[in-house]
Subunit: 305 residues, 2 copies
């Protein structure tokens, strides 16, 4: 552990700049704020390039465990002042702990290939507590009535034009919960590594390949890989429960206001729409995408059930 | 239309106090902020006790239509200064328009009786555009593959202990979209009429009976009505897709941290859990509740399909 007390330290300035997209791009790293998120990175064994904490924070005692474990994994740990933490953090009232994570290096072609080769409904091996997941998880979501846990390993998400950080973070969190293989975001989408998105994802960003690239680059790779694309449409699509979602699949989710761009819509062979028998005109975009993902999971569970 | 320019006007003070729960309770009214929300109240024909707007706002031209329509319905309209609007509004940068709505008068026993008497899978009459809904809606969510739109008129939501305003607002929005008959919130839940909740609900609060009462009062009424209660549990419940959700039903949703209170858990005959094959430990509470609601809708569609 090192002390770092001067706000003028070049490292402090570098980390504080990670609130801005162009600096994240330049240094290929991003901020992970708060104890719960840092713990999720530890649990996932995800790489971290620095851990910063304020030893005088009222919660400092709670940080000891995660600090010791990350030091053991050779993550550089810095004790800093509350002032320095608040300069670096995006939140107005930051917790006394945050980390810096390197961008994941995701190869688009390999990811598409893996999804293409996945089998719908392959049961994941489950442990005695009735769940799959990383070896580090110490808790159980054991359920009665499921003899194996089927995931969405043959599903990728393509997000195009989503603007609200909370919606994208929520979507990443749900995507991880149903076990999708990764998330592709076009550059017209809010940056998945922006602090607000990472916070709303509650650590799920660490547990799933996330890649941001130009729409043209992503579209070309998908065309090459010949994976079926289903586009979420606010209206006019096939009703969700009449739409087969099994088999290798890319689920395309558009923005809150304009939906998907014409290029992505054209890529899709099917448009799917959530039924809304009430008089409400639309759903929260993160919710709509999550309902679609859970229907994809349901169809996989039933395919092997 | 009247002018109202003094921040010292007692009405201004009264409206500004509606940001606080105790004043909402005393005056039995709440704030509806922003053009989109006000339009939703107009579309639903929901009562409003006042409409306030800033004629010098850059967006003032967009307000003319809704102002004229609400004046026609005898809603008192006040032209106010930007300063007065920002004193009343909860948002830091309020839009130039907001309304004051009276609390809906909801009779708990009648609501439970109506749900109890509802038929699962009764098809709603649908219009030529393929949707149900209020006569005022001017848009279509028409879908192929559905010959009738089935809603969740035999479902009520009971929220107990949910703390995040965004989560409750999202839940109200989804509940309205699937056509549930109403929402009951225990006093341990964030106030459904708090400004942040109303904003996240995007106008859905106007279109559905929403009632807040002590848990003991709600529990007693449910016991009397003998409606089946299914409780959402983060772990340990029946897997969602193995859980029959048709028939008159109360879906109980707990808080982000502690889940449901023991009294509500005891009321439930079934606990239901969302499968999470990924390594994520939990979902956003608004998302989890929305996925449950859409599964209830799916089972109703299939029951008549």
């Amino acid at each position: 552990m090192q002390w770092l007390t001067s706000p003028q330290n070049p490292r402090v300035k570098e980390w504080a700049a990670l609130k801005e997209g162009k600096f994240r791009l330049r240094s290929r790293s991003y901020l992970v704020e708060g104890l719960r998120a840092v713990q999720a990175y530890r649990d996932a064994g995800a790489p971290l390039s620095a851990l910063l904490y304020d030893p005088e924070s009222g919660q400092a005692e709670q940080y000891h465990g995660v600090i010791a474990q990350l030091e053991e994994r050779r993550v550089p740990v810095f004790a800093v002042t509350a002032d320095i933490l608040s300069r670096i953090a995006d939140t107005d009232q930051p917790q006394g702990i945050l980390a810096v994570a390197p961008w994941p290096e995701v190869d688009l072609e390999s990811l598409l290939e893996a999804v293409s080769a996945s089998q719908t409904g392959g049961k994941f091996p489950i442990d005695a507590k009735g769940r799959t997941g990383s070896a580090d998880t110490d808790d159980s979501a054991g359920m009665t009535g499921l003899t194996g846990v089927v995931g969405c390993a043959d599903v990728l998400i393509l997000v195009d034009g989503l603007r609200d950080p909370g919606n994208l973070g929520t979507l990443i969190r749900t995507a991880q919960a149903v076990g999708v293989s990764g998330l592709l975001a076009t550059t017209g989408t809010v940056d998945p590594f922006a602090p607000k998105v990472v916070r709303a994802a509650m650590g799920a960003t660490a547990q799933m390949p996330v890649l941001r690239a130009a729409a043209s680059r992503i579209i070309e790779a998908i065309e090459q890989a010949r994976i079926r694309v289903v586009a979420a449409a606010v209206r006019g699509g096939v009703a969700l429960y009449d739409c087969p979602l099994t088999g290798p699949l890319i689920l395309a989710i558009g923005g809150e206001a304009e939906g998907l761009s014409p290029e992505v819509l054209e890529l899709a062979t099917t448009h799917v729409t959530l039924p809304m028998p009430g008089s409400t005109e639309s759903l929260n975009a993160g919710v709509a995408a999550s309902v679609l993902l859970y229907e994809a999971l349901r169809q996989r569970i039933h395919a092997v059930g």
